[in-house]
């Protein structure tokens, strides 16, 4: 079984999700099965995590021919880059089944499909396979928002779907362009992601492909100014969907950049990464400032998530090992912190019957456990040392300072911006005098406390003792960066770099 562990992780939930949709199983039955399956995925994930040797290459590889004529394979594997995204998915999904009583059994089925697809997208080592899972990922999201979302769910669904599909289709063209270029340059058809790194790309179409691919990821992440789908979708989606969207799907966008753009488009990256780095920091500030203007706390968290995604993405474009490791670390850190903040927001919404910040107050008095957990997640999201959020943010800022001082300064602004809206929101919701809605606010039950506790503990452990996690990431990041620098910098030297404000620190 364990030689096919990745396939099990992909197809078990995927198949179960589809089957359960068709079979007349009761809602609770589906929930229990879903929980069991997500726990199995988690166990598999842990097994992978433990057995992962961290050598920088793909492990747990499975490769089977699919379309021989074009060199398309069913090819999956895990390396340090995918491991953490994979783990984020594996760890967080069981919570959905544990915590949320959905309105319909189909909701759980969709969740399972989303789980399978997300795992698939992360472990895919073949361009076509990646794309397939990448798109499948969106389908359950589409239905979950559209069927079970808030009042303006349809508009939100249309927006997220069309927006992200537009990006993905552009990526499809880029993927094919890569494979065809590979065929043209080597004479052999292949869609294997790792092989694309050898491509020598230049010219207008290479740039177009780069742009197309970046468009897909920039929308998914989302980078400013492609973020406008996000507040609508995040706030209208059912809480657990938002949780999945922000905690995992957005991260897969970043993962995609690391996996597909950085090693392949070295020259383009070297030349244009600075633009995206600026987009990252602009988004970080713009969305961070936008967050403070929100009245709806789910929207506020949505903007906060977008703001953090800005800095996470920034880490990729700085192209040094600290920033990249920071990004990968932050992927998990942010998944746990902002992810469960969304879950908490869901609890607030459910128990307070409102999403308006002004309707709340004094929740901390009636729900101390809830408030404490919320505070821990919030502080992690603000990047307080001792929580997981700090490690990643620091590494990214460190990398950014090396890359470009101005970018570094702007990135460091996250320290201030993040804390502004979070404290404001915490003050209005948890402190001050209780309102009618919150006077009898129910605290977390023992069960809920137990479910959340591991994540809270994880947040702290990852902040206090991050090295074991970093050790799994770093070799792969190192490998990526070395590859990037050795092939990217000569290309940059030949070209005239884009003139943008650039302060070097090695005067």
């Amino acid at each position: 079984m364990f030689e096919h562990v990745l396939s099990v992780m992909i197809f078990l939930p995927l198949a179960a999700g589809v089957l359960l949709l068709l079979l007349p199983v009761s809602r609770n039955g589906v929930r229990v099965i879903g929980l069991a399956l997500s726990v199995i995925v988690l166990v598999c994930g842990l097994k992978v995590y433990v057995d992962f040797s961290g050598g920088g290459g793909l492990e747990f590889v499975e490769k089977k021919t699919w379309i021989d004529a074009l060199g398309i394979h069913y090819h999956v594997g895990v390396d340090g880059i995918s491991l953490f995204v994979l783990m984020a998915a594996a760890v967080l999904f069981p919570m959905v089944f544990m915590l949320f009583t959905a309105k319909s059994r189909a909701y759980y089925c969709n969740m399972l499909i989303a789980l399978g697809a997300m795992v698939g997208a992360v472990v895919a080592a073949d361009l076509v396979l990646f794309y397939v899972f990448w798109e499948i990922m969106l389908l359950p999201i589409f239905f979950m928002i559209g069927l079970w979302g808030g009042e303006k769910r349809i508009a939100a669904t249309i927006k997220i779907t069309i927006y992200t599909i537009s990006g993905s289709l552009l990526m499809l063209a880029a993927l094919v362009y890569l494979a065809v270029s590979y065929q043209a340059q080597t004479g052999v058809w292949s869609f294997e992601i790792a092989k694309m790194a050898v491509l020598d790309l230049h010219g207008g179409f290479a740039l177009l492909a780069f742009v197309g691919m970046m468009a897909a990821f920039a929308i998914k992440i989302p980078l400013f100014p492609f973020h406008t789908w996000l507040p609508d979708a995040y706030s209208e989606a059912p809480t657990s969907t938002t949780f999945i969207l922000s905690a995992i799907m957005a991260k897969i966008g970043v993962y995609g950049v690391i996996r597909l753009v950085v090693p392949v488009f070295e020259a383009e990256m070297a030349r244009y990464a600075v633009i995206f780095a600026y987009l990252g920091v602009i988004g970080l500030m713009y969305c961070g400032i936008a967050a403070i203007g929100q009245r709806d706390f789910k929207r506020m968290l949505a903007y906060s998530s977008a703001s953090h995604m800005g800095i996470i993405a920034l880490g990729v474009f700085c192209m040094n090992v600290q920033a990249l490791t920071g990004t990968l670390f932050q992927i998990v850190a942010h998944a746990t912190s902002t992810g469960i903040l969304f879950l908490f927001a869901g609890i607030l919404e459910e128990r307070g019957n409102s999403r308006q910040i002004e309707d709340f107050g004094g929740v901390a008095y009636s729900a101390p456990i809830f408030a404490t957990f919320f505070a821990v997640a919030m502080l992690a999201s603000c990047g307080l040392p001792g929580t997981s959020g700090f490690i990643g943010e620091f590494l990214i800022i460190l990398g950014a300072v090396k890359y470009n001082m101005l970018v570094g300064i702007l990135a460091a602004a996250t320290l201030v911006i993040g804390v502004c809206y979070m404290l404001w929101m915490f003050q209005r919701v948890f402190f001050e005098k209780p309102t009618g809605k919150t006077a009898a606010f129910k605290d977390l039950s023992a069960y809920e406390t137990l479910v959340f506790l591991p994540v809270i503990v994880l947040i702290l452990v990852m902040g206090i003792y991050p090295q074991p996690f970093i050790a799994k990431i770093e070799p792969a990041a190192q490998k990526h960066i070395i590859q990037m620098i050795t092939t990217g910098e000569p290309a940059l030297a030949e070209s005239t770099a884009v003139e943008l404000p650039y302060i070097t620190i090695t005067d």
Partner: protein, 470 residues
Amino acid sequence: MTDFLLLLPLLIVGAGAISLMLLAAFENVEKEIAGYGGMAVFLLAFVVQLAGLTAGDTYVFADIFNSMMVSNTFTQVVGLIITACGFFTCMSSTTYFRQNHFCKLEYYALTAFAACGMLLLTMAQELITAFIALEILSLAIYVLVGLHRTNVRATEALLKYLMLGAFAGGFYAMGGALIYGGANSTHFAVIGGVIAAGGFFDQPLLAVGSLLILIALLFKVAAFPFHAWVVDVYDGAALPVTGFMATALKAAVFAFFANFLMLDHGLQASWVEYLFWIAVFTMFAGNLIAIGQNSLKRMLAASGIVHSGYLLVALVAFTSRDFSDSVLLYYLAAYAVATLGMFCALSYLSGEGEKRQNFDDFKGLAKVRPYSAAAITVFLLSMAGLPPTVGFMGKLYIIINAIHAEQTMLAALAIVSSVVSMWYYLRLVITMYFYEAQDDFITESSPFAPLCTLILVVCVFAFALLPLGV
């Protein structure tokens, strides 16, 4: 004897058509019996075709028919698609005609005749044979379109189709004449030889003749600006007929289109520039028409234009016959599966007299008939080209083929077009799922349409896993 075997599917369909026609002469035959007959004919032809797949070109009865018909993997696979389309059309028709009472017994005979014409068209290696085959299938389909005589919409569709079809036929005849004048033959092989020997642009008769023939073919595949009829005709025709037209007809015409365009490489190369723009405009015109539609059938018709555009992309970006043919066939099959499924599902969901026609009529379908809605969703996803459906693989191959042929711009535009197409495909999904039901969606029960839908849903996924055979 092998020649006979190669011809057998065509003969089965032809003979079946004639038998069905004779059957229609008996007044007291049940319509359903004819339907079963039609299904049997197509199934048999399909099985025989499948069993007789061969590699390499064979001129069927080369002596007797003077090498006017060829049978190779390409034509055989197109044959498979056509017979399968016929089979599923018969299947959904039986359901459809339980709720709509204008069926005539000749319906199935005409379907078979049309399929006969299509098979001939794909195998034709000579212009006038192709012309006659084209007319056979056109005439049969004209009649199928106008089958509901008392319905003024059907008659209008018939008028538009017949008039413009005959008009296009005039172009074909003139084009054939000019090519005959230029090459002193209407055989593809000879024409190809003449073009190869003398150059395309240096032989104006051939060039202009091929222009006129292309116009006729572009009309048949509904390429811009020869597309306008398709929306109205699909709208006016009965649902199963529309499905048949959209799939089998398109497959046959595209197969012939490919054969004609490929009769010499110079011919194709000379037309690439024009076909490029036509393909682009076709994709976008189709999309933009579809966006504004409220009627489902019209939307599907317009989306058919878009898919013609994608198929034209495959024709423009011809890398090698093997590869591009496979891509073309795969896409045709992919498109056929989804479209047939769609029309099949609509055949029984639209109810009596096709009373559910517009998007709004399908509001909340998923709440009442979840399986039907799911099936329609699957077909829509396939048409939209989203994984893991066969439509996605088809589109993937088209794009691979296009970029491989260094038509990267065209591939990019095809992608942009499919972005636009999401709008209207998703609109139906949204309508079905995200609104409350206002209709009970009660329909006459019939085992065939659901069965047919189910098979096609399975096909949508199963074909996606099939590797592309080059």
